[in-house]
């Protein structure tokens, strides 16, 4: 350390850390000896520069700067390799884990009946205008009311004591009334969706009649065309003219199937707009029903979105939902009045919604939809008197949604689509009297035959041995046998016909069960490959982050070259293996797999083969053990559904534990200031965490021990009016909090005053206004039109994002460190005025006072955290903004704890791990859970008015993983906060290569970053392994699979944030310090 600067000693800690001392303690520089003193370069420039010394120092500085930049790039490359390993590992696991189903290209044809035997070929041909079965209706209107849950449609019955009807009850009684009053004209049944309950998946199921698989769940943003046989294609083949109105998802599934003149698609993802789609559908639907237009179309598909959007935006228990349902009620009544005798009217929900109005998972509320069919002429029947009244709840007499496909096909005289697994709905074929057993048997025999044909084809294509197939075949044979024996013409033998019908049904349902099990088939070798790569990557990461004792940046170059060579050879080997036919996978996959293996081998060679630099990564302090315990116990806990469900509480428990241990450790500090500050910040840390824990969004499984507070009520997804105050409080307090931490080390200087004092504050204020307008829109407080409000909001949001990312990044890259440097001539003069200047300076000498010196790296880098904090806060709902404010405060508090407990320079693992815990904790505090339905899709519309790629998904990521992103950005601070400035020793600079302290800092930053990644990589590996291990668990799709997906997504996001922002940002912050103070 060069003379001139007094290093921060314990005695003046209080000044550094913000216990307001009497006067600022400037660092004193005496630039009388310019060779030795690390005078700010800026200053030497201002003064007369001593010729030789300055030049030499300049060249040394340049060399060090170049070295730092190079090593920095290398570090980013290394992080990129870690990301690649994670991606490859997750890819291979996912490939085997997420269920896949083979898609058969076969199409059912009008001319070929599904019966295999020759006898049935004789009856091939059109049967009274129908294909396989007599046609019952010429035309149909199929209306999908998105998210029409079954309990919306039936009268409210109190099931639990004290349960009262909610705002969504009894608002759409038309279905129940018609089904009860005119049972021969209408029926109403619970209509159970197969998860995942997203609209795209549901439409596939509703039109193909087959089961969805999980792979498609993520493609909600970009649907792809259906190439399986389906009812829309069959209608088209039969020459029907199809019209579609509403949700444009249909067009991505069925491109060019609909009449372009009459069809009217609407954007489906703008969930904040309740009326545009519905009114648009009405405007185009009712003119088509006019008699003069009757010949222009055959089938209309109408898709209303208002109910779904009201659910997403407000939740079911909201007046807007009531109003929407009443509007739908009126629409259906108008339709009933207008349809003619030959038109079948079908109304259904494609899925339900959970208590907050979201969907995607497989909870009862999400899968319970309603189906209602109506015909003007008497057509429907009930086979038994008990089934006349629609079921009270969706749990009774429900039918799967795939049943719609054979029903609609046979009613309209079409062949049943090839892949169908559904059964004809009894009510639709029993005849008005409910006695038409002959018809029921006929349609069920057709359906069963088609299912058998499909099963046969599937087995051939798969070329596999299905143990279950013989068993299901016996069901088929029993049914066929019974049918052969039954008298063909006697209508007297009702019982015999009923039993034949029953055995066909039995066969259909049994096959459905087999297929459900069959498509839950996992590719275990691929899963093991994925887990193996993730595990090897984790082991390497453990040794790299916690085992290496030497400078990490020295290793970067050999590591990168070994990785390069290893992955190159691996890719070639993988390619060859595929080429010669050993590996049974596409060439790209094989290359990727072997490249990953090769790079792992290469990296292991470098890390493990050099003796002396490696120690066992076993913690040597309580802190290290705490970090391990937090990570490992949580990972083990994910094997249990309970600990997965209660993850938020467990994280609070761990964070409080850390806070208490930090308080205890702080009590041990020798310096009074360290002790007081440490204890203060520990207490603050624990209390802030506990306050944040009041912001909760409960998942279904947490009931009844949890109360949601994130939204206005448990059945809503809007903020309560009082919550709109939170952004203003954040605006008021958060910049002041940041300022106080800066002021503690006298660093509230330079760029900080402008950026924290004005930029951050302005951004937060605009955000508050945004959410106020949002609330005004919801509550209709102003007389302004919706469009005006929306455009003002979008403008504000874009302004804030521009402030955070465009202006903020520019400010971060170009601003000077947060220090104030003042030069005074004649120290004696200033001494008398300013007590703080020690009397060491003599008259006539130049005194250089630098404020903010003690935390020069930390405060400079923290500007980046402020930028991200602003952007993430904008993307959160008001309650989440309060939580994010608390998060920023806790991060600062944590940094002070690390400093007072000497953990910054000690490179302890606890800092990054606690940051990771904070990131995970606040994920739950910003209205998320480890379930698909908690993704707040609507936040994509905060700064945009339509879906735009790639921005919409990025915005949703910013909302969902905001806390993890923010903490990842803050990770370098765990080694930068209040780190003393070290420069190369200039007295030795003539001889050997100068020691590059910037490289040491970079090594520490890499260690911290890798430790942080280690937490999420461990969680990811654990959730991956548990999901794979528990793949037959009842709760797989509800609990383990979503948690696995979340873990994988978080890991990827965190890796990318490190490469692109966090570790990358260290470069600018170090360069800026180096520019002023040298290297």
């Amino acid at each position: 350390m060069a003379s001139g600067i007094r290093p921060g000693s314990g005695s003046d800690r209080s000044d550094l850390n913000g216990l307001q001392a009497t006067a600022p303690p400037p660092r004193l520089l005496q630039p009388n000896d310019t060779q030795k003193a690390p005078v700010p370069k800026a200053l030497t420039g201002r003064q007369s520069r001593p010729g030789k010394g300055g030049n030499r120092q300049e060249s040394v500085d340049d060399g060090l700067e170049r070295e730092f930049k190079l090593k920095h790039l290398g570090s980013l490359g290394l992080l990129g390799w870690i990301l690649l390993l994670h991606v490859v590992g997750i890819f291979f696991f996912t490939k085997g884990f997420l269920l896949t189903r083979m898609v058969l290209e076969n199409k059912s044809s009008c001319n070929v009946l599904p019966f295999g035997d020759a006898s049935s070929h004789s009856v091939v041909g059109k049967k009274n205008g129908g294909c396989w079965h007599q046609k019952s209706f010429e035309k149909a209107i199929v209306i999908v009311v998105d998210a029409l849950r079954y309990d919306f449609t039936v009268p409210f019955v109190s099931t639990a004591e004290g349960e009262t009807s909610q705002l969504f009850h009894d608002n759409i009684p038309v279905f129940y009334e018609t089904a009860v009053n005119n049972p021969e004209n209408a029926f109403l049944l619970p209509f159970i969706a197969d998860p995942p309950t997203t609209t795209l998946q549901r439409l596939k199921g509703l039109t193909t009649g087959t089961l969805p698989t999980f792979v498609d769940a993520g493609s909600n943003f970009a649907g792809t065309a259906i190439d399986e046989d389906n009812i829309v294609a069959q209608l088209r083949t039969a020459g029907k003219n199809l019209v579609h109105l509403g949700d444009d998802t249909w067009h991505s599934l069925f491109p060019n199937y609909f009449d372009p003149e009459m069809t009217q698609p609407f954007d489906s993802f703008n969930v904040w707009d309740l009326h545009t789609v519905d009114n648009g559908v009405n405007d185009h639907l009712f003119p088509l029903l006019h008699p003069e237009n009757a010949t222009k179309w055959d089938v209309i598909f109408g898709h209303y979105l208002g109910v779904d959007h009201a659910g997403h935006r407000y939740g079911p228990n909201h007046p807007a939902m009531g109003a929407k349902l009443r509007q739908m009620d009126q629409v259906i009544r108008d339709l009933i009045a207008k349809v003619d005798d030959n038109t079948l009217l079908v109304v259904m929900g494609d899925h339900g919604m959970d208590s907050k109005g979201d969907h995607g998972g497989e909870s009862n509320d999400e899968v319970d939809a309603a189906l209602w069919m109506y015909s003007k002429r008497k057509f429907f029947g009930r086979t038994s008197p008990e089934t006349v009244v629609p079921p009270k709840t969706a749990r009774e007499r429900s039918i799967p949604q795939i049943d719609l496909v054979p029903t609609l096909s046979l009613l309209l005289g079409l062949p049943i689509p090839f892949n169908n697994l559904g059964s004809p709905i009894e009510e639709a074929f029993a005849g008005p009297g409910g006695k038409d057993w002959k018809n029921l048997v006929a349609v069920n025999r057709l359906t069963s035959a088609q299912i058998k044909r499909y099963q046969h084809e599937y087995a051939i294509t798969r070329g596999a041995d299905d143990g279950q197939e013989p068993q299901s075949l016996t069901f088929w044979e029993t049914a066929e046998d019974a049918w052969q024996r039954s008298p063909k013409n006697g209508r007297s033998n009702v019982e015999a016909m009923r039993s034949v019908y029953q055995s066909y049904r039995e066969y259909q349902r049994h096959t459905l069960e087999i297929c459900r099990a069959l498509w839950a088939k996992f590719d275990v070798p691929s899963m093991i490959q994925g887990v193996g790569i993730l595990f090897a990557g984790l082991v390497l990461l453990v040794f790299y982050a916690r085992g290496i004792r030497s400078d990490r940046t020295e290793l970067t170059k050999p590591l990168l070259s070994a990785i390069g060579v290893g992955s190159g050879w691996g890719a070639v080997v993988g390619g060859c293996l595929t080429f010669i036919g050993v590996a049974d996978m596409p060439i790209t996959e094989s290359s990727a797999l072997w490249a990953a293996v090769g790079s792992i081998l290469g990296a292991s060679w470098v890390i493990f083969m050099k003796p002396g630099q490696l120690g066992l990564p076993i913690p040597c302090s309580l802190w290290g053990w705490l970090a391990v315990v937090f990570t490992v116990t949580q990972s083990v806990g994910f094997a249990s559904n309970s600990y997965t469900i209660w993850e938020d509480e467990i994280l609070l428990f761990f964070l409080s534990t850390f806070g208490v241990v930090a308080g205890v450790s702080s009590m041990r500090q020798k310096s009074t200031a360290d002790r007081v500050l440490g204890v203060y910040h520990s207490i603050l840390f624990v209390i802030l965490g506990r306050i944040a824990s009041f912001s909760r969004l409960c998942r279904e499984e947490q009931m009844p021990f949890c109360r949601s507070t994130y939204y206005a009520s448990a059945t809503s997804s809007t903020s309560a009016p009082w919550q709109l105050v939170i952004p203003f409080i954040v605006t008021l307090i958060l910049p002041a909090v940041v300022k106080s931490f800066y002021a503690g080390s006298k660093s509230y200087e330079g760029a900080a005053t402008l950026w924290v004092g004005y930029g951050f504050r302005l951004g937060l204020f605009l955000t508050s206004i945004f959410w106020m307008l949002e609330g005004a829109d919801d509550g209709e407080w102003f007389s302004l039109s919706k469009e005006t409000l929306k455009s003002i909001r979008v403008f504000l949001a874009q302004l804030v994002l521009g402030l955070a990312f465009a202006a903020g990044t520019a400010a971060f890259i170009y601003s000077k460190p947060c220090v104030s440097i003042s030069v005074t001539q004649g120290g004696a003069d200033s001494e008398s005025k300013n007590k703080s200047t020690p009397s060491s300076s003599q008259p006539g000498r130049t005194t250089v006072t630098i404020l903010g010196f003690g935390n020069i790296y930390g405060t400079r880098f923290f500007l980046l955290v402020v930028n991200f904090c602003l952007a993430v806060i904008l993307m959160q709902k008001p309650m989440g903004q309060g939580a994010m404010g608390l998060l920023l405060w806790q991060i600062l508090s944590l940094l002070e704890i690390l400093d007072t407990n000497a953990l910054v320079m000690g490179n302890s693992a606890i800092g990054p791990i606690v940051l990771a815990l904070l990131g995970s904790f606040y994920y739950f505090k910003t209205g998320h859970q480890a379930v698909l339905s908690s993704i707040q899709w609507e936040t994509a519309f905060i700064p945009l008015s339509a879906v735009k790629y790639p921005w919409s998904p990025i915005l949703v990521v910013l909302n969902t993983f905001g806390p993890q992103i923010l903490t990842a950005v803050a990770v370098p601070l765990t080694v930068l906060w209040k780190r003393p400035l070290q420069l190369h020793d200039q007295s030795k600079s003539t001889s050997s290569k100068p020691k590059n302290h910037a490289a040491k800092i970079l090594s520490d930053v890499m260690q911290a970053a890798c430790t942080y990644i280690l937490y999420f990589a461990t969680i990811n590996l654990a959730t991956t392994m548990w999901a794979g291990h528990l793949r037959r668990h009842l709760m797989l799709y509800r609990i383990f699979s979503p948690r696995f997906m979340m873990g994988a997504a978080v890991l990827g996001v965190v890796d990318i944030v490190f490469i692109v922002f966090s570790v990358a940002g260290v470069r600018w912050s170090m360069l800026s310090v180096g520019e002023i103070f040298g290297w």
């Binding site: 302090s621 802190w623 600990y643 467990i650 534990t657 009590m667 041990r668 009074t672």
Partner: protein
């Protein structure tokens, strides 16, 4: 032994800080030694005996048992432990009388200081003091800690408070009885720097046990004993006994270490 007058505990700093107060021995007579063996067993037996009642009605049971626990703890400290200030200092001349409230107690001690077991009042007054402080200070502090660790804030107040009261009796009674309000010792307690002995071991054991006691709460076993304070309390009692035993024997005189080992820390700085 401490030489620092009881100034404000958090800020006082002795001139030679590393000198710690020595661990506490159980009084060296046979009654004390025997009862010290029995006491944790009695507490555990009480818990086991009343466990079903505890599960059935936690609040009533906890409240009902509180006086018994207090009585047992007071009996234990008076039988087995040296009261505050009575410990004999061979090397330190300054009497520890100043540790308790200077004045009356100090005067009384002069008469009784010769015998460890003599004089009921020497023992009774620290015991009463420790009970008072346990109720007034330790219980609220522990209740706040429970809430900070995730105990419900808006409901279950009685459970939280009673759980804290039980934990306070387990941790603080003996600590206050033997150490009084000696600032420097309490600084060691807050810093978890006390050398292990029966008293400190039991106190730390109670806290660690309660920490582990929270582990089974979230499990979906639907057992009635998974209700909020029960597992924590059971953990605390077991932790008390284990800490008590280990503190007296295996770990006696050892200190909890938080920071890294000296050589490693130095090795890192040398880089």
């Amino acid at each position: 032994m401490s030489t620092t007058p009881p100034s404000s505990p958090s800020l006082s700093q002795g001139p030679a800080a590393p000198k710690f107060a020595p661990p506490i021995h159980i009084l060296p007579n046979s009654i004390s030694k025997t009862y010290a063996l029995i006491h944790p067993v009695v507490l555990l037996a009480l818990l086991a005996f009343r466990f079903n009642a505890l599960v059935a009605d936690p609040v009533a049971e906890l409240l009902g048992n509180l006086p018994f626990l207090a009585l047992l703890q007071v009996a234990f400290v008076m039988t087995c432990l040296p009261p505050a200030g009575s410990a004999k200092d061979d090397d330190d001349k300054s009497t520890s009388a100043a540790i308790l409230k200077p004045g009356k107690i100090g005067l009384r001690r002069k008469n009784t200081a010769k015998s460890d077991s003599g004089g009921l009042s020497t023992k009774l007054i620290p015991a009463i003091l420790s009970l008072t402080l346990t109720t007034l200070l330790a219980t609220p502090v522990l209740a706040i800690l429970l809430v900070l660790f995730g105990a419900p804030l808006t409901t279950h107040h009685a459970e939280t408070l009673l759980c804290a009261a039980h934990m306070a009796l387990l941790t603080s009674t003996a600590l206050i009885y033997v150490h009084g309000v000696d600032g420097s010792v309490w600084k060691e307690v807050w810093g978890a720097q006390r050398p292990a002995d029966a008293v400190w071991g039991a106190a730390l054991g109670t806290c660690v046990g309660a920490w582990f006691g929270a582990v089974p709460i979230p499990l979906d076993w639907d057992r009635p004993w998974q209700a909020f304070p029960i597992t924590i309390l059971v953990g605390a009692y077991i932790g008390y006994s284990v800490g008590f035993g280990l503190g007296r024997t295996v770990l006696f005189g050892k200190r909890l270490r938080i920071e890294e080992n000296g050589e490693l820390a130095e090795g890192k700085k040398a880089d």
